[in-house]
C-alpha cells in the first residue's frame, strides 16, 4: 500500500458515488455535479494507479490535463443547455414527460 494506491482506491469510491448520483438524482445540475465527481474519481485512478510502482509519470498527468479540459467543456455546454431548457420549459429535471408520447415505453 502506497499513497498513490490509496488515492486510486479513493478514486474508485468517488466513481461509485458519482455513478450513483448520475443514476439517482433527478435535478440536472446535481447530475452535472455527480458527473464531475465521477470524473475526478476516474482521474485519480488514472494518475494514482501507474504511480503506485513507477513514481511520478508525466504521461497520465498530461492525459488528465486533457481530460479536465474536456470535462469543463462538457460541463459548460451542459450548463448552457440546462439554463435554456429551464428558460423554455420551466423544468429542471428530465423525469416528467410533459409532451412526449413514446407509445410502448414502459
Amino acid at each position: 500500500m502506497t499513497a498513490p494506491l490509496l488515492y486510486a482506491l479513493a478514486g474508485a469510491l468517488l466513481c461509485g458515488l458519482g455513478l450513483f448520483g448520475l443514476l439517482c438524482l433527478s435535478h440536472l445540475l446535481r447530475k452535472l455535479l455527480a458527473f464531475n465527481v465521477m470524473g475526478s474519481g476516474v482521474f485519480l485512478v488514472m494518475v494514482g494507479l501507474p504511480q503506485h510502482q513507477g513514481g511520478p509519470d508525466p504521461v497520465p498527468q498530461a492525459l488528465v490535463l486533457t481530460g479536465i479540459v474536456v470535462a469543463i467543456a462538457a460541463t459548460a455546454l451542459a450548463v448552457v443547455l440546462i439554463r435554456r431548457y429551464y428558460h423554455l420549459s420551466g423544468l429542471t429535471t428530465l423525469d416528467a414527460e410533459p409532451t412526449s408520447r413514446e407509445g410502448g415505453q414502459e
Partner: protein, 91 residues
C-alpha cells in the same frame, strides 16, 4: 507517519465532501461544497506530485466550474417557470 495521516484525512475529507455535495438538500450549498471538493482535489494532486494538474484543478475544477454552477443555481432559482409565456408575448 504524519504523511499517512495527512493522506488518510485528505481521502476521508474528499469522500465526505463528495457525498455532501451530492446529497445536500440545498442546491446552493451543494455547489459550495463541490467547490471545497475541488480545492481538496487540488491538494490531492499536489500529494500525487502532479503540480500541473493541481494548477489546472484549482483554476478550472474549483474556480471556473464553481462560478459557472453558482451562476446557474442563482439563475434557476430566481426566475419563475411561468415567465416564458410573458416574454414570448412581449417579443
Amino acid at each position: 507517519m504524519t504523511e499517512w495521516l495527512l493522506d488518510g484525512l485528505l481521502v476521508i475529507a474528499l469522500v465526505i465532501t463528495a457525498v455532501a455535495a451530492l446529497l445536500s438538500r440545498d442546491l446552493f450549498r451543494a455547489v459550495v461544497v463541490f467547490i471545497a471538493f475541488g480545492l481538496l482535489m487540488t491538494v490531492a494532486w499536489v500529494r500525487l506530485q502532479a503540480p500541473d494538474i493541481a494548477l489546472a484543478e484549482a483554476a478550472i475544477g474549483a474556480g471556473l466550474t464553481g462560478v459557472l454552477l453558482l451562476d446557474a443555481v442563482s439563475h434557476l432559482g430566481s426566475k419563475r417557470p411561468g415567465k416564458r409565456t410573458q416574454e414570448g408575448g412581449e417579443q
